[in-house]
């Protein structure tokens, strides 16, 4: 069979290796989740089972790609941070992003029923994905801070908006008008003085998003001799990752990759 005659077309593929020794962040984001959330009747602003399902999918991804040191998710998006020295798929960009977004998407369908036992999935979702490089720990932290700040801004807005609509009886348009030009402080104030809601007491998961890391912990060794051994465990957190505290408490995440 004249395969060789056609095989030249493989040469049209382009190499897309990512620069060595820099952090690779893969961010995936649900396609058209505005519509997807509506279709599935997600509660507004936050449908906890949907967020938990996102976290579950992220764990599946981290399970398959053990060089991911941290994942951060909020709304319909998730960011996966690979060690700067990762050799995953020889750092081929499209290999990495497609494998991650497709695994995330198939896991979403696969695990749906665990989070929505009463609700059928109406259509299968897609997720876009992209790989971004960050040369330094500072750049990486700023990236994560950008996403967490985005979570905060959107969640505060959405919380007030839906409170005005659902509890305040406003139309969507009226609520939007009301919020135009308001600052964070104004929004907190509306919530508190008009509805008695202290935004800072809202669920951390909604306000901060979810951060997943691995950590070595001591567990009793099995030999019964009473000693301990180290085991890698996955932790799902809803803490602040903008400030230094989180990073000081988890120096293993980035210390090894800082310049000296």
């Amino acid at each position: 069979m004249a395969q060789s005659k056609f095989e030249y077309t493989r040469k049209f593929e382009v190499e897309d290796k990512l620069l060595p020794n820099s952090w690779i962040v893969v961010r995936i984001d649900g396609k058209g989740f505005h519509k997807f959330s509506d279709t599935h009747g997600f509660s507004k602003p936050n449908e906890k089972p949907a967020l938990d399902l996102m976290n579950k999918c992220a764990c599946c991804v981290m399970n398959d790609f053990n060089e991911i040191i941290l994942s951060y998710g909020q709304s319909d998006e998730y960011s996966f941070v690979f060690r700067p020295d990762t050799g995953v798929y020889s750092r081929r960009s499209s290999k990495i992003v497609t494998n991650i977004s497709s695994l995330f998407a198939s896991s979403y369908v696969f695990h749906w029923k665990e989070f929505f036992p009463e609700k059928d999935l109406i259509y299968p979702p897609a997720f876009d994905g992209r790989a971004v490089l960050y040369p330094t720990v500072k750049n990486l932290r700023d990236y994560l801070s950008w996403r967490q700040a985005d979570c905060h801004i959107n969640n505060l807005y959405n919380t007030v908006f839906w409170t005005l609509v659902n509890k305040g009886g406003m139309t969507n348009n009226a609520a939007q008008e009301r919020l135009k030009g308001t600052l964070s402080g104004d929004k907190n104030e509306i919530l508190f003085s008009e509805f008695g809601i202290n935004y800072n007491k809202e669920s951390m998961q909604y306000r901060k998003g979810t951060t997943i890391i691995k950590k070595k912990v001591e567990i009793p060794s099995e030999n019964g001799a009473g000693g301990t051994k180290l085991r890698t465990k996955t932790f799902q957190l809803d803490c602040d990752i903008i400030g230094d505290e989180f990073w000081n408490e988890n120096p293993h995440l980035v210390e090894a990759f800082k310049e000296t």
Copy 2:
């Protein structure tokens, strides 16, 4: 909130627009389907429901992306051909490939039960994806010929191999040894003279893979006046796409995009 302070990190994303006016082919391929097929007890060399499920997923993708003019699938892979003038996602490569591979993967899980009513999906599959550009119709046809020739070569090999093992009682190693260095003709001969199998009578779907195209067909118009109207219909074919016949019969696929 100091979002602007962090937003600079968005600038680290790279633009990856694909060259205008050239055919975009997105090929997805199952990750580790050797293991996936084993785990799910797929029959060898071909598990028809699995191939049909792949075709179903391809239809889902074509439904969502209406500028795909042709799709071709075999084994655990599928190729999607976009019109050269497509503006899908502004031709951003990673947007296109991740949306397609993730939709394919989530559809695979979503539709699994329709094809495997008796069999549970054990774990959700991932698919890698890549975008490749082909400047001319000739290059595009050669690409598709490459994939269909690959289908033929693998299927012929696998058919003889598993016949030797399953019907000839050989071990895997012995069958492999037996086939080392054989040409197409030799393999056909083994099948025919030793097992009475005429390879050319094997299922076209296995030997040729599946080609999906859209075509405008005349259907009776609904107004009862007896006229007809044009409707776009999807066709699933298992014909040869290497020779000219298929292309002569479907000039609408590429004619408009040839140089004059």
Copy 3:
């Protein structure tokens, strides 16, 4: 010597191969030639020796890279068109553009005195360079038309502007104001009715730029037997390359590369 310890840094280089089977156009453009022209007292709007020197440099480039089938130059820029099947430097983009721009620049200095026997070169010029791909002959011709249309637009503007200043005694500002919003017709009219200049009789080289091609011509063979033989000759033209005439007269340039 511990070279291997450091050699890993070579891996940080990126592959930048250009898509096969598409036209490669390399355009170079003088860096800061506004200032360069002023410093060297070039006449306005056109300094013929400078344009001729540009053409000379283009010939040097075409001499070194024999897969360039056509070059087109105007003002401080030159475009070089490589055959779509060229394998020059394995189609490595930066190799191609840097070799061409640096050869063009060094030739500029090297040949300066031939064109400016009375004038010293005050500082050595730099040229930026870029490679652009065009999949079809139509795209390629449109590219060249874009550059020649640009030549026309700028030259017409500059011709009127400097006529208003030099012959009309206007200040630069006044001339600029006068031309604001005028169309081609208006500019032709100013030249003709106010200064008796018929723009279409201005030098073709200025109005059309310079096109360099190679062509096989018959020359008398040297053996004295009176026969002829084919020799490749370089032609420097100042004709229109937007219309079909030029392409019909020189079918060898692109015919072989059209789809059939």
Copy 4:
């Protein structure tokens, strides 16, 4: 004029911005300098005026691009290191490399006579160029070490080779055979015991290449009041840049760009 009709072809250009916040190294290398050196009768292994001319051209480049913090040259190549935060040409890769290689090449011709007053330049040279990113100071230093180690290896080899040929009366082939498989120590030994040459006393410029940096130095201020002021001066060095000493003495080069 129907420019807009053609201007779409500009869209075929690709964006090639280099990742922010990483060191940009541009390395240029003479095209076919084996032949160029022969043609111009360069002495072997080192033609001092040719090396000095290279250094001169590097200074011209550094003069035009003031964000180059260090340049390193040897043989027919030069590396230019841009600050990681440089915004030169918006970090567009081809803009940067073509401007640098073409300026280097034109300067080579422009300054030739100052270094070869008795020798005519026979043809103008070209230089290829490439941009490479290095995320950390360590990577950058390793890159420079790689180039300086390369200089050492080649120069030691060439020194012995040409000594064997010119002083030892060997043919090129015999010298090559003699050196096959020898280590650094062997080569030093040949030079010393057979020709009384102590390699370590050979010119530093040949053994180490040339490093050019800028440094702020105190100079007497002009006002006559006896004070001093800071002025940026260019230093041309032929020292080792692999070890720490050079970097400790010049902390201003990289300290500001280290992670903290």
